[in-house]
Amino acid sequence: MRHAQLLYRLIVRPLLREKARTTLTVLAVALGVSVVVAIDLAGEASTNSFRSSIETLQGSASYEIHQVGGIPEAVFGELVRMPGPLRFSARIEGFGTVLGRGERVPVFGVDLIGDALLSERGDLPAPALSDIMDSDAVWVTPSLGVAEGEEVQLLVNDRTETFTVGGVIDTSQADGGPVGAMVVMDLSEAQRALDRVGRLDRIYVHEPDGEERDRSEAIRQHLPPGAVLSAAGVRSQQSRAMLRAFRWNVRVLSYIALIVGAFLIYNTVSVSVVRRRPQIGVVRALGASRSMVRVAFLAEGCLLGAAGAALGLPLGRALAIGAVETMGRTVQALYVSSAPGEIGIRPLTGALAACVGIGIALAASWWPAREAAGATPSEAMARARLEYDAATTRGKWAWRALGCAIVSAGLCLLPAWERIPFAGYVGALGLVASAAMLTPRVSAACLKASERLFTLPFGVAGMLGARSLAASLARTSVIVAAMSIATAMMISVGIMVGSFRETVDLWIQEELRADLYLRPEGVEGSNDRATLSPAVVTKVEGSRHVAAVDRFRTYDISYGGLPATLASRDIRLHAARSTTRFLEGPEPDTIWDQLATSDSLIVSEPFNRKHDVHVGDTIELRLGSNRVGFTVAAVNYSYAREEGLLMCDRSILQRYIPDSRPSSIAIYLKPGADIVQAQEEIARSVAMHNVQIVRNREVRERSLVVFDRTFAIAYALEAVAIVVAILGMAGALLTLVLDRRAELGVLRVLGATKAQVRSLVLAQSGMLGLVSNLIGCLLGGALSLVLIKVINKQSFGWTIQFHWPVGFLLAALTAVYGASLVAGVYPARIAAARDPIEVLHEE
């Protein structure tokens, strides 16, 4: 109790007295915590929600059977005739766009009468026989917002189908959280609507409860060689495995603001220690132990962290709403079609906020608390001691920085662990630490150099500002470090994204050479496998403007326990027009010949890196009813799929999967054809089908829009880190103003105008901004190399050509510099408003 009282008097009371500084620090921590919470919540909502729709209908299945190109219905007939207790559920899976709403939703076909699953579940309404006989009846989840008896129009493949809602599925008891919008219909109706007649997409195998006997081998005996039997839910697991790297990268980015916040807590507690050195001396002389002093200052950090966490939790929940939309779109575009789930604060979320807020605060206040506890009563001198220490240890820290940078560079050379580049993250963190260690020395040099520079616009105020900052180097450099880190992260992400964008743009231009592209309307997700009717292709080929049509078809496959995409196209046609760049392989002509004439394929760079597959290797794929060995003809640069893309010739693939419907087509016009006229004529000829025809330029633009949307969250996170740093700078300048109030008072007595005092503080904020920009640029450049060459490559497997996004960098640096000036406005006002007499009297 007495300790609590002492803690209140010595720690809490001063914090409450300095409301502005305390508020700024708490706000900075709160922002840091909020982005961590927001990203965690948004990550959960956007990446786990796909299990809601797929796994809801999976039930208690033990196994699932899948076959690229579909399982022949006859296989299902054989399975259900198997003796024993096993039960089987057939599935058709696809997507449809709800007309009027424009929402793309999963469409499932289930055997409404015979499905073993339905008999044990109460959430799906048992349909009346008349409903099932009524072929246009569908069942929907509540989130679709359609009532029983109403009509719903779905755009499926390139047709519009009208259905009547037979009932609304009760999803309130569903496992794994809320279920997104989906449409369920009878199996045969789904086969018709989705063009899968005679085929099934998946068969679930249900074992009786308590079954211990492994029946997988018995099941396999009834399957064609191309079918894959795996544990139920393996797709979701594979998708989650794919998403892990994505989530890790976003998660790590979200911690940047918190790291910047840590510097601010360090600064706040350091200032407290410096200011209260005489008090520390007194309480030590009166009998306080070192540990008591240490605990007191750790408690101060802890209080700031706890307050930040408490504020950051609801703020994070609010930020998550925006983040989940962005992340959900990215997940949908790059990984798996899924509508984001609901954002909910679980007990774990609160624990996360408390852990990161208080944890980072404790870590940040450890050093100043140690410094406070280490002082003997006689050493209880003011800032001079700390500044002396800072000046004398500057050289030592420079050497440590060099050592840390070398070790960090070494770490960056280590391989990833489970596709997560942990060594790269630590290496990047090490570089950040190196920069922080070098900051005092660089700041001192820069402040000396900038003295003259700032004297020109600010007069004597510029010189005084530089001198004052240099004299407060111990705290100035902490703020410069925080600001530099935030700036560096902004710059490094900017360079990485800018380079990536430029690389992708170049790749799109090389790969997409057709004049027009045609695909079913409404297709969104990367695993949305809608197809076009053969009639569409025939009509397009018949156009007088068309020289050639390249039919592109994609299938979801699984390889090495990870999802991948198998694609086919008319290779000769593509080869004649594209300028594909290869990472590995012989001359392009040889590659194309090999692809057109044999069971060969090209693998994309991400696939090559994930599975360590190289030219000449044989990949066994299960296609249709066959197991086929494909030779890797080349590895190409491809940025289409993170999971990896395998490309083979259309005619070769059709030998194994005789399905002629393409997913999309690339249309090459005859020389001299008018593209506008051709587009209009083709659109008219396929008017009966729901398709979209876009020009080459539009595809490129749309791709870049998706790209920009994907990285919007990265920029948002960096912007938050900058805001945190700006808050810190404002707090530091305010502290500087308060601590040097006597000097400012003397200036006023000597004839300085209020404007000159304001200029002095603004010049200081300008100097801090300039030094931070300089260090941030250098560190940002180094970090961008780590991001491009190590973290991105190990996480996703893409080669990114380095590119300086000059416009972005200039804009970012100007914005950071402008923001740092803004950070000085309030402290400048405070400084100018102080009464010199009052100040001198206080001293």
């Binding site: 005084l464 001198r467 004299a471 006597a742 003397v746 200036l747 000597l750 004839g751 000159q756 001198l840």
Partner: protein, 209 residues
């Protein structure tokens, strides 16, 4: 709380006035009012014939910048500036040309030739106060206000500073108002004003003798 009450004093150019009294008697307040650093709640302070109550912040700043020089008990040198930089600071604030030349002249005047590059912490107490005197004089003010200028110095050094002030008053004709609690120091002045509880003692000569 009333710091000063019923105080009417006229100080003529070239005078050396000592203001004595106990701690808290209002000496510093008197100097602050006289130096346009503060404004009276009642009554008026005229500097050069103009009431400070009628001056805005810019005019008060101009008075401090051009007409008044201050010397403090604790020197109040800016620790980040060298001795000569401290001296030239008022000229820089007023955007005067060639401030260094004038600052060096003043450094010579106060006997600190060759010490201009030293930072305050590299100087003794007496040297710091000499720098403060030089800084107070660098812009040739009409009045020098010294608040306990020797309050933080030993006897020998104090004597040197008082000699310097006398020299400035006599040779340069600068008006000096010095607050002190030392009778010996006050004896160096041409007129002594005694303050007690914010009022001038009856024996204080309110006009030049």
């Amino acid at each position: 709380m009333t710091a000063l009450s019923d105080v009417t004093v006229e100080i003529d150019p070239g005078e050396f006035v000592a203001l004595i009294g106990r701690s808290g008697c209002g000496k510093s307040t008197f100097l602050n009012l006289a130096g346009a650093m503060d404004l009276p709640t009642h009554g008026e302070v005229h500097i050069g014939g103009v009431s400070t109550a009628r001056m805005g912040d810019a005019e008060l700043t101009a008075v401090r910048r051009e007409q008044v020089g201050f010397i403090f008990q604790f020197f109040q040198l800016l620790p980040t500036l060298s001795a000569v930089e401290n001296v030239e600071l008022p000229l820089q604030l007023a955007s005067q040309p060639r401030p260094r030349h004038r600052a060096l002249e003043l450094m010579e005047l106060v006997g600190l030739n060759g010490l201009g590059d030293r930072l305050p912490y590299q100087l003794s107490g007496g040297q710091m106060q000499r720098v403060a005197v030089a800084r107070a004089l660098v812009h040739s003010p009409a009045v020098l206000l010294a608040d306990e200028p020797i309050g933080n110095l030993d006897t020998e050094t104090s004597s040197g500073i008082l000699d310097l002030l006398q020299h400035i008053n006599t040779d340069l004709g600068t008006t000096i108002v010095m607050a002190t609690h030392s009778r010996d120091s006050a004896a160096r002045a041409g007129r002594i004003l005694r303050l007690s509880d914010g009022r001038l003692s009856p024996e204080s000569p309110t006009r030049p003798v």
